[in-house]
C-alpha cells in the first residue's frame, strides 16, 4: 500500500462531522474516535492519516503540502486566504458572517467613520472595501459582542449561528456578510501527484453528502 493520504481536520465539531462522514462511507474510524491525546491517527482501510489541528493550522499544513488535504470552515479560509484548492462544500458546520449593531442603531447614517470590532479583520476589511466605505477596524480576541456595548465600536462582524448571544446582549444582525460551511481543501501539488487516490475519495464523499 502506498503512503497514506494525510488529511488535517479542524478539531472540534468539524472533526466530529468529518469522522461521521468517513464512517458513512464505510471506513473504520475507531482509532480517531478513541484518540486519547494523539494528534495523528490512522484510518487504515481508507489509506488515510488523520491530523487534528486548529483551523488556521489546517490551512498552514495544507499550504506547505505536509498534509495533502484538509477540512476547514469557510470562515477561516476567508480570513487566512492562501494557496490551495477548495474542492468540496461539505455542507456541515453551516453558519454565517454577519454585521451586527446595538438594537435600533442606524449604522449607515451620518458622515462619521464607523468603528468595527471583529476577530476577522480581513473579512471585515474586504466587506467594507467592496462598499467603498472607510472604516476603522479593531481586532478583538474574545467576545466581540462586548465592543459595541462598551461603546468601543459601532458594530461588529462576527460568526452568527442562532443569534442567541446577540439577542441576549441587545444586539441584532443588520446585514449578512457571507454564508459559511465546512470545505474540503487540497494542496495544489498533492492533487496532481496523487490524483487518482484523491479523486476516488472526493467522488465517494460527493456521492454521500
Amino acid at each position: 500500500m502506498s503512503k497514506p493520504i494525510r488529511i488535517a481536520l479542524t478539531k472540534g465539531r468539524l472533526e466530529k462531522d468529518t469522522v461521521g462522514l468517513l464512517e458513512k462511507l464505510g471506513f473504520d474510524c475507531t482509532a480517531v474516535r478513541e484518540k486519547g491525546r494523539k494528534l495523528i491517527l490512522p484510518v487504515p482501510d481508507a489509506n488515510l492519516e488523520v491530523v487534528l489541528a486548529k483551523a488556521n493550522d489546517v490551512i498552514t499544513y495544507v499550504e506547505h503540502g505536509v498534509c495533502d488535504m484538509g477540512v476547514v470552515g469557510k470562515d477561516t479560509i476567508m480570513e487566512m486566504r492562501g494557496k490551495f484548492f477548495e474542492l468540496v462544500d461539505l455542507g456541515f458546520g453551516r453558519c454565517k458572517f454577519a454585521l451586527a449593531t446595538k438594537k435600533g442603531y442606524d449604522f449607515y447614517n451620518g458622515y462619521g467613520i464607523k468603528t468595527i470590532a471583529t476577530k476577522y479583520p480581513n473579512v471585515t476589511r474586504s466587506f467594507f472595501e467592496k462598499k467603498g466605505m472607510d472604516t476603522e477596524i479593531i481586532k478583538i480576541e474574545g467576545s466581540v459582542e462586548l465592543a459595541p456595548l462598551l461603546e468601543l465600536a459601532d458594530g461588529i462582524v462576527d460568526i452568527v449561528e442562532t443569534g442567541t448571544t446577540l439577542k441576549e446582549n441587545g444586539l441584532e444582525v443588520i446585514e449578512d456578510v457571507a454564508p459559511i460551511s465546512a470545505r474540503l481543501i487540497a494542496n495544489t501539488v498533492s492533487l496532481k501527484l496523487r490524483h487518482a487516490e484523491i479523486d476516488r475519495l472526493i467522488t465517494l464523499i460527493e456521492e454521500n453528502l
Partner: protein, 398 residues
C-alpha cells in the same frame, strides 16, 4: 535602541557548507542543462526601476515588491522576477541580434511574503527564455528541457501543460465585465468548485457556463482532451484544444516516461503574461510548484519590440527543500590533506601544497607550529593526510 546586528531579516537565511553545496549542485546541474542546449547565461541587476514591472498590463501588484529610491528620488525595486528584466534587455541591447535568442539565468529574486508563514523572501531562480520563435518546435524544446530539469533530481515529478487560450475563449463568450472575468479566473485557479458554481449560476445556464464549471476538473492524461471536446462545443475552442493535444502527445513521446507529463485545462495563473502554452512542474516533497513557465508573445512588445517568446523558471529553493526531505544530500567537500611546515620550511611547504593542488587535491596549510595539534586537527576534520615538509624531505602520514 534595539539592535538587529545578530540576526537576518525574516524570509532570508544564511546557507552554510552542506546547504550551500546542495544549492550550487542544483544550480550547476540546471545551468549545465541549459548551456548544453545552446543557451547563453546573462545577469541582470538586482535593482531595477519600478517602471520595468509596472507596464500597462501591470503584472506585478506593487505590494509584492521590495521598493527603495535612488539618489535622484526615483523609485527602484529589488528584482521580483527575471523574465521582465530580460524582456527589457531583449527590447533594447539585443534588438538587432539574430533570432532566435536562447538566454538563461540563475539569480535571486525578492518578494515580500507574509511573515511567519515559513516562506522565503529571497528565492534563487534559474531559467531559460527562448526568444523569437512562434513555432511548436520552440514550445517542445522548452517543455522537454523542463522535463529533463525535473527528472534530473531523482524524485517523483510531474510536468503539467495548460493553455490560457481555453479560458480566454470561454469567458469571451460570457459577456461579463473584466472584474467578473477576473473573479471567475481566480475561482478556476483555486479549483473552488462551490463558489464557481454559484457565480456561474448567477450568470446563466448555457454551454459556456457549464464548460467553465467543469474546467477546473479537466486535468489528468490524454483522456482530458476527449472529455473537453465533448463539454465544449464552442467556437474557437477546438483549435486551441487540438493545438495543446498535439503538443502534449509529442512532448509525451519525447520525454514522458510513465505518465509524467499531464494536462490541466484549469491552469489560469494570476499575474501571468502568458498568451498560450502554460507549464508547471511539481516535485514530490515540495508543496508548491517548482517550475513555472509558458509562452508570452506580447510581453516584450510592451518594451517596444514585438517578438514572441517562451520560457520557464525553476525555483531552486523548492528543489532544495524537496531534496532535503527525500534524498541523502551531499555535504561540503572537506580537504584531502594538510601541509605542515617544520621550522624554517614555510616556503617549501607552501610550494608543496601548490604542487598537490595542481594534482587536483584539496589542500590546506597547517596554521599551527605544533605537529601534534595539526594531527589532532586533521583527525577531527577527517582530513586523510598530514604532509610534513622538513627541508628537502617530505613525510606523509595517513
Amino acid at each position: 535602541m534595539k539592535n538587529y546586528d545578530l540576526i537576518t531579516p525574516e524570509g532570508t537565511r544564511d546557507l552554510l557548507f552542506g546547504e550551500c553545496a546542495v544549492r550550487r549542485d542544483i544550480e550547476s546541474r540546471l545551468l549545465g542543462l541549459f548551456i548544453g542546449c545552446g543557451y547563453s547565461e546573462m545577469i541582470t541587476p538586482g535593482l531595477e526601476f519600478y517602471d520595468v514591472f509596472n507596464l500597462n498590463s501591470s503584472y506585478f501588484p506593487q505590494e509584492n515588491m521590495y521598493k527603495l529610491t535612488d539618489n535622484k528620488g526615483r523609485l527602484l525595486v529589488m528584482r521580483p522576477d527575471s523574465t521582465m528584466p530580460i524582456a527589457r534587455v531583449v527590447a533594447t541591447r539585443l534588438k538587432d541580434a539574430m533570432l532566435p535568442l536562447r538566454l538563461c539565468y540563475d539569480q535571486t529574486v525578492y518578494r515580500p511574503e507574509p511573515a511567519l508563514k515559513g516562506r522565503s523572501d529571497e528565492i534563487s531562480q534559474a531559467g531559460i527564455e527562448l526568444i523569437g520563435s512562434p513555432l511548436r518546435t520552440a514550445d517542445l524544446e522548452v517543455i522537454s528541457m523542463a522535463a529533463e530539469a525535473l527528472s534530473s533530481f531523482g524524485l517523483t515529478y510531474s510536468l503539467e501543460l495548460g493553455h490560457i487560450g481555453i479560458f480566454k475563449c470561454l469567458v469571451s463568450h460570457l459577456g461579463v465585465t473584466e472584474h467578473d472575468k477576473e473573479t471567475i479566473r481566480k475561482l478556476i485557479e483555486t479549483k473552488n468548485f462551490p463558489a464557481l458554481n454559484d457565480m456561474l449560476d448567477s450568470i446563466g445556464n448555457n454551454t459556456v457556463t457549464t464548460a467553465l464549471k467543469k474546467l477546473p476538473a479537466l486535468f489528468g492524461g490524454e483522456e482530458v482532451f476527449d472529455k473537453a471536446a465533448q463539454l465544449m462545443p464552442i467556437d474557437g475552442i477546438k483549435e486551441v484544444l487540438d493545438e495543446l493535444r498535439e503538443i502534449y502527445c509529442e512532448a509525451s513521446e519525447i520525454c514522458g516516461e510513465n505518465g509524467t507529463i499531464t494536462v490541466d485545462l484549469g491552469l489560469v495563473n494570476k499575474t501571468d503574461y502568458y498568451t498560450g502554452l502554460i507549464i508547471k512542474g511539481y516535485l514530490q516533497g515540495h508543496g508548491d510548484e517548482v517550475i513555472s513557465g509558458g509562452r508570452y508573445d506580447r510581453l516584450i512588445s510592451e518594451f517596444g519590440y514585438d517578438v514572441p517568446a517562451v520560457g520557464f523558471g525553476v525555483n531552486v529553493n523548492g528543489i532544495e527543500k524537496a531534496m532535503a526531505k527525500n534524498v541523502q544530500t551531499k555535504t561540503a567537500n572537506g580537504a584531502d590533506a594538510v601541509v605542515f611546515a617544520a621550522d624554517g620550511c614555510r616556503v617549501a611547504a607552501f610550494k608543496e601544497a601548490q604542487r598537490l593542488r595542481a594534482q587536483g587535491l584539496i589542500v590546506e596549510n597547517a596554521l599551527s607550529d605544533d605537529l601534534d595539534t595539526v594531527r589532532e586537527y586533521a583527525k577531527e576534520k577527517k582530513i586523510a593526510k598530514v604532509v610534513i615538509v622538513n627541508g628537502e624531505s617530505k613525510e606523509v602520514e595517513e
